[in-house]
Amino acid sequence: MKSYSTALNIKRLFIYILMIFLGLLAVLPIYLMLVNATRTNAQINEGISLMPGGNAMFNWKTLTNRQFQIQQGFFNSLFISLSTTILSVYFSAMTAYGLHVYKFKGRNFLWGLILLVMMIPPALGFIGFYQFVAQLRLLDSYIPIIIPSIAAAATVLFLRQYLSAILSFDLLDAARIDGAGEFRTFNTIILPIITPAIATQCIFTFVGSWNNFFTPFVLISSTKKYTLPMLVQMLRGDIYRTEYGAIYLGIAVSIVPIIIFYSVMSRYIISGLTMGSVKE
């Protein structure tokens, strides 16, 4: 019996070492980025350091001096992500509720369509999407970035599963008898009771929109409207070739808000990941 527990302890020790290694591997690139964002070019060229330097302000000036409007980009990204999140989640909840509660003609067809759309890779229609937007003369505008998120099949699927698990039709009947209109029932009774699912979907929609690089990169052309990932992408260019500290700082500006957000919400985010997919 003793040798059994020794073997178990050795295995445990081995797993702990592996866990520490993998944990460091996840954090180290980001930590190096933060450290290098605060150091001078000379220090960065000298070698790796795990101690931050005192050059962050100078790097910030180098970064923002060259027509590089990172604050503007930050607020552009924030605006797009917030509007996308609100529209996408609200209308998805509406669609999910409509599909779940009302028995109308075409309901099963629409539900099948939503399941089908989940399988179709978004890249399929991209060229057509671009040309359609060009013909509407909506290139270089946020509308084709924000509005299409109203039709988010995955969010509808998730919210409908949640609704079917918790919604009781007696509640709706009670609301109807009390004379509440259908939209009012939805807004004042349904939305509050599905708040946990809505919050989860808000997080993932927001992060997805914040991280979206390609759609704005193709559609937006004026520098003033650039989103944060697009600006970060500009750091590849020649003007920053040797300004390593500024490059690291620029990357940090897009990553750090997500890390702060995640460190507060991680428990919630991780449980949200598997909320819809697995029946527990």
Binding site: K103, E182, R236, Y244
Partner: protein, 332 residues
């Protein structure tokens, strides 16, 4: 009285249309119509911005003929597949081992939740920024990775024109295998934590009494893993395989931003979607051919998904055999 209730019900049910209307309108405008448009465009010789409202001719399958004979397209397919494979196999392997260990009640590991939160974190980061970060970390000649390798005494040996051999830093992005390896590593780094969480959820959903009865029957942890956990995780693994494949075949941000936006070195990290971008938005603006590429990618994904499903179905025989074997062992 009954008649009235039914009439009332239909009237209430009509509200359903209002609730789903925004979804339907936006879906048909921004997803369905563009998809049909892409299909139509792929059968024309339209060039430039005007699309189907400008001058074009229907040319039948010319673009698709070009696609199946285009060595750059198949090169891109090969690149995509290699980089996805080199990311997916270690991703599933490492995640399987970790998720089994983390949910093993005999090991009682501490800090599991924290560890899981840490390794999942890269998944939420902006992909474009991650690409730029790794571009800087693997930079030449003075990126941190090179500095680290040099401090350990590793140098690249470069033969100069006059025949002398000099030691210098690695220029990773000039080597095909190094560049592909870095792309695969970044994908692995960003996704294996996610896979761990999905697999652990799969393990949690396995009925606890199965593990208990195995324990009573004297099964050790290898047997429990092999005969209970792995077979019952199959649906979850299938789900992970399919979603990872669909995402991987559309890999874009990292190979696009890591080098020169054309999949350098020598177009060997150019994925199919990067190739589509190159065709449509850089230089020639050949939208019709880019549309054909989109459809080609879709067909490949669809075919792979079918292969995966049918390939996995045959295995059910194997599973039954395994269950019989287990029953035999327990009976012994």
């Amino acid at each position: 009285m009954k008649q009235k209730t039914i009439g009332n019900e239909t009237r209430v049910n009509r509200w359903g249309y209002f609730f789903v209307l925004p979804f339907v309108i936006v879906y048909f405008a921004f997803q369905f119509y563009p998809t049909i448009y892409t299909l139509a465009l792929a059968f024309t010789n339209s060039k430039g911005f005007t699309g189907l409202s400008g001058n074009y001719k229907f040319v039948g399958g010319v673009n698709f003929l070009r696609l199946v004979t285009d060595k750059y397209f198949w090169g891109a397919v090969e690149n995509t597949f290699i980089m996805w494979g080199w990311n997916f196999i270690p991703q599933l392997g490492v995640a399987l081992i970790l998720s089994i260990w983390l949910s093993d009640s005999r090991l009682k590991l501490k800090g599991r939740g924290f560890f899981r939160a840490v390794i999942y974190m890269p998944n939420l980061l902006t992909t474009a920024s991650v690409a730029l970060l790794f571009r800087s970390l693997f930079g030449y000649p003075l990126g941190p990775v090179n500095q680290f390798l040099q401090s350990l005494g590793f140098f690249a040996e470069v033969t100069r024109e006059d025949g002398s051999v000099v030691q210098e830093a690695f220029n990773f992005f000039r080597y095909v295998s190094a560049s592909r390896g870095i792309v695969a590593f970044i994908q692995w780094w960003m996704w294996y934590g996610h896979t761990v969480i999905m697999l652990m959820a799969g393990i949690t959903s396995i009925n606890e009494s199965l593990f208990e009865s195995a324990l009573v029957d004297g099964a050790n942890s290898r047997q429990t893993t092999w005969y209970i956990t792995l077979p019952l995780l199959r649906p979850m693994m299938l789900f992970i395989l399919v979603t990872s494949m669909i995402g991987g075949m559309q890999m874009l941000d990292i190979p696009f931003l890591l080098t020169d936006m054309r999949g350098g070195p020598d177009f060997r990290i150019r994925t199919t979607i990067v190739y589509m971008y190159n065709m449509a938005f850089q230089g020639v603006n050949d939208y019709a051919y880019a549309a054909a590429i989109c459809i080609g990618v879709f067909v490949i994904i669809f075919a792979l998904a079918l292969i995966i499903f049918f390939g996995m179905q045959d295995r059910s025989e194997l599973k039954r055999a395994r269950a019989a074997k287990l029953a035999g062992r327990i009976a012994k």
